[in-house]
């Protein structure tokens, strides 16, 4: 590769077209989770559990799951006051998932797009091109990781946590602002990480994948007597990427449409987590550099210098304790940093200006959070949770410069959130959950967001959930303050938060002990959607509270464990969404999504086959063209040798070599961005 800066990255905005980034699909290369090498078929959900739990092994009992993100304390998923999907470390490994984007792409109702720079998650038909996942809240062990400039969640290789270190992912659909504040518009993704006791000893992993992609990872976990534990991990990867052909640039002056050596990606991550008594200490850092081969933002096509670097840093201390038998308290203190450095090589085409010009677009965010929460049980009937979260943004800096400085803006702000949640048992069959959170911003003032959930268990192993709630997304620093002095974009400090009201009905039933059926219907309406538009008075791009969107949808899922430990999951989602004013269908909003997973153990758990089929129906692009439907198939085979100490894994992604594409966004000349053809990965993991 002819690119020399081995650092990782994020997207930005060159001078002309200062829209923030655009959209992608989950193709990225990363690492699958080498989950516990013990018990092969572990019960993960209520659906997998036998009637008599004493038939389970100790390890299996230890693996029975309860949910955390749905209401901040642990509970079984059937009674969780939300529509929840859990992806375990075993599944992450068995399906060869490489990134959080891969994981989410396999979840009912979610779809991921990739624009060869970032990955973007669509939920319930809403996946606005140009939205950097600011409407999905990502938590690490229950705490926010979205940044403070774009409110973006990084889900591709740019995410700072190694996939191997994920114990499980909880996807909680629906509004979560009543507990978590801003960004929890369509859902909350809570990532539970592995700790020292989950990965005992020294382990190393190496992988080779298509397009000269190499990755190496080492981790070491230890638990001392008394329960203190430590986990440290580090990894690095490097990928040459592909030479890509874009017919939109098929001209001799732009290398006949071929972007050479411009799709590279490289990065590194470190992680440490220590537990001692009531304390947990977390450190996380990740950095990624990605070349942008698409010529987005009016950059010079086929110039590999155009790239983004994203860095995420997180350091936290959490203290939790049960006091007085029925009161749990938890306090959390964290430092966060997010840095994006975009380099966009441009030809301004003006006489006298040097050619080309390297435009730098950067953001740097630093923030501190303090969070305290207490839960008290009142007998078995009631549980009351109250908490406060304070976020101090010490830096929200955006800069853009090349020959001149167009933008140099730094802000400080703070956010205070106060929340309360009450769970009240009404008889043995009905539980009512009431949640309310107030957030105060020094920009627009206060917002209060309620949530109401009624969980009814009309029969054993059957749950009916009626859920409604409101969530909000605060305007972010980018939308408020990105102003390049009248060149292309101006800020709008008067933006209000956008809000969403959601109504859901969820039906869950364990048909037998092995088959869980889920049916869900929802409707939502987004008001004051923060939308990028052009001010006709000066021709400048500006964000305004403009659109209203409404949508309805139906989802169905069956999750069954067949004979011989084979597990299958099938889901179908269909939705109708429209812009209320125009009646238009939204862009990047597929009518149908279908997913099918088979997880097949063999040879007493020593061999596992994971087969994944993902269907996305056609989507509108921002250029009003249609992106064709596609069906993707991924196959992963994992073998365990030497008593489970060694794990060998081979994956084929896009097995039938289907040509497919994801919608691009406004910064792309391409209406759609082609995605990867058939590609491979081999992983070797060894436990010393």
């Amino acid at each position: 590769m002819n690119h020399h800066t081995p650092r990782p990255c994020r997207a930005g905005v060159p001078r002309h077209q200062r829209r923030r980034f655009g959209g992608v699909i989950g193709l990225v290369a990363c690492l699958a989770a080498p989950a516990a090498l013990a018990a092969p078929a572990r019960p993960a959900r209520p659906s997998d559990l036998p009637a008599d739990l004493t038939t389970l092994s100790l390890e299996e009992l230890m693996d029975v799951e309860v949910v955390y993100a749905a209401s901040r304390y642990e509970q079984t998923s059937l009674t969780a006051p939300a529509d929840v999907t859990i992806i375990t470390a075993d599944q992450i490994r068995d399906f060869g998932y490489r990134t959080l984007a891969d994981i989410l792409n396999g979840v009912r109702g979610l779809y991921v797009t990739y624009d060869r720079n970032y990955s973007y998650v669509g939920v319930r038909g809403f996946g606005r091109p140009g939205d950097y996942n600011s409407r999905l809240l990502v938590l690490i062990d229950g705490y926010r990781i979205n940044d403070n400039v774009y409110d973006a969640a990084l889900v591709g290789n740019e995410f700072a946590l190694d996939i191997d270190l994920i114990q499980r992912v909880e996807v909680v659909r629906g509004p979560g602002s009543s507990l978590y504040g801003t960004s929890a518009v369509f859902g909350v993704v809570n990532i539970i990480t592995k700790k020292g006791q989950d990965l005992p000893g020294l382990r190393a992993a190496a992988s080779v994948a298509s397009w000269s992609t190499l990755e190496a990872q080492v981790d070491y976990g230890h638990t001392w007597k008394g329960g203190r534990s430590l986990l440290v991990s580090g990894s690095a990867w490097d990928s040459d990427g592909q030479d890509l052909f874009y017919p939109e640039f098929d001209d001799p002056t732009t290398n006949d449409g071929v972007a050479e050596d411009a799709d590279y990606e490289r990065g590194g991550r470190v992680r440490a987590v220590a537990e001692a008594g009531d304390w947990t200490f977390n450190v996380l850092h990740g950095s990624r550099e990605k070349g942008i081969p698409t010529g987005s933002f009016g950059t010079i096509f086929n110039d590999p210098r155009t790239r983004t670097v994203d860095e995420q840093t997180y350091a936290a201390a959490t203290w939790s304790r049960r006091v007085a038998g029925d009161v749990d308290i938890e306090a959390h203190f964290a430092y966060n940093r997010y840095s994006y450095r975009g380099r966009y090589v441009q030809d301004y085409g003006t006489p006298g200006s040097p050619l080309p010009v390297v435009n730098n677009d950067k953001a740097l965010g630093e923030w501190w959070t303090a969070d305290a929460q207490a839960t008290r049980r009142f007998g078995s009937r009631q549980r009351l949770t109250g908490g406060a979260e304070y976020r101090l943004n010490t830096r929200q800096q955006q800069t853009n410069y090349d020959l001149a400085v167009y933008l140099d803006d730094d802000r400080h702000s703070d956010v205070l959130g106060l929340y309360v949640e009450d769970e009240i048992g009404l008889g043995s069959e009905v539980t009512l959950h009431l949640g309310l959170r107030y957030d105060h911003y020094d920009t627009f003032g206060g917002t209060t967001n309620p949530r109401l959930a009624l969980v009814w268990l009309p029969a054993p192993r059957t749950a009916v959930k009626l859920l409604s709630g409101r969530a909000f997304r605060a305007p972010n620093a980018y939308e408020l303050y990105y102003d390049d002095g009248g060149l292309s974009q101006k800020g709008n400090p008067l933006l209000d938060p956008e809000s969403i009201a959601t109504y859901e009905v969820v039906f869950e039933r364990l048909v037998t002990e092995r088959v869980l059926l889920i049916g869900a219907a929802y409707a939502y309406r987004i008001s004051d959607l923060i939308t990028q538009t052009v001010d006709p008075s000066d021709g400048l791009i500006v964000f305004r509270n403009l659109d209203e969107v409404q949508a309805r949808g139906l989802e169905f899922e069956v999750d069954g464990r067949l004979a011989r430990g084979v597990r299958t999951r099938f889901s179908w989602s269909t939705q109708w969404s429209e812009d209320v004013e125009t009646g238009d269908t939204l862009s990047n909003s597929p009518r149908h999504l279908a997913k099918l997973h088979f997880d097949i153990p063999a040879l007493g758990g020593r061999l596992t086959t994971g087969l994944e089929l993902l269907y996305v129906s056609e989507r509108q692009t921002v250029q009003a063209t249609t992106d064709a439907e596609h069906l993707l198939m991924n196959l992963t085979v994992t073998g365990r040798l030497l008593d489970g100490r060694m794990e060998l894994q081979g994956s084929v992604y896009n097995l039938p070599d289907v040509d497919y594409a994801d919608p691009g966004s406004a910064e792309h000349i391409q209406a759609t961005i082609d995605q990867d053809g058939r590609n491979y990965r081999a992983v070797l993991r060894y436990k010393f």
Binding site: L58, G560, A671, T672
Partner: protein
Amino acid sequence: MRPRALPGADHPRVATAVVAAIVCLGGAAAAGAAAGESAVSGAPSPTEARVKAAFVFNFARYAGWPRDAFAENGSPLVIGVLEPSALAGALEEALRDKNVHGRPVALRRFRDAREIDAPLHLLVMAGAGPRVTPGLPAFVMTAPVLTVGEAEGFCQRGGAVNFYLDDGHVRFEVNSDVIARQRLTMSSALLRLARIAHDEARPAAPAGAP
């Protein structure tokens, strides 16, 4: 370089057919799963209590009692539960018709600590710990009785085994001092999954912590 189809150009309509196939497959899978499992057995939905009750059964299975703890060879292994306890109902379910170490398991429910008497081999109790439970007979803390609790600090207050929740999973800690003092043994199969605790007075684990 991989030549790609023009964006927006005709992608294979095959996809529709394959989707239909997926649906059929999915349906078949569900049907297969349903068929594979015979009659519905009306079990309660899994709860923390059920998981803990199953653990209690395993504690009985993997713990050892001295010979003199039983009146005779066929004497039952007696598991007591001190009410109120969220586990009582689940224990009834989990321990029904069970045998351990070749002995039948008998469950006794005590409404008050003062009612507790021998024979007793394992006691499940709410509350902060045996040492601070009013009215608890002394033999519970001296004889071979495995006490199981679910309160923070239970093991520091004379308890042998204590449940806690971690990361959404049921976990347990074992006070090895109590186990030894009360002439019990515990199999390594259990101990390797347990967090090891010690009496309050004893200094925390020696060096090596992060």
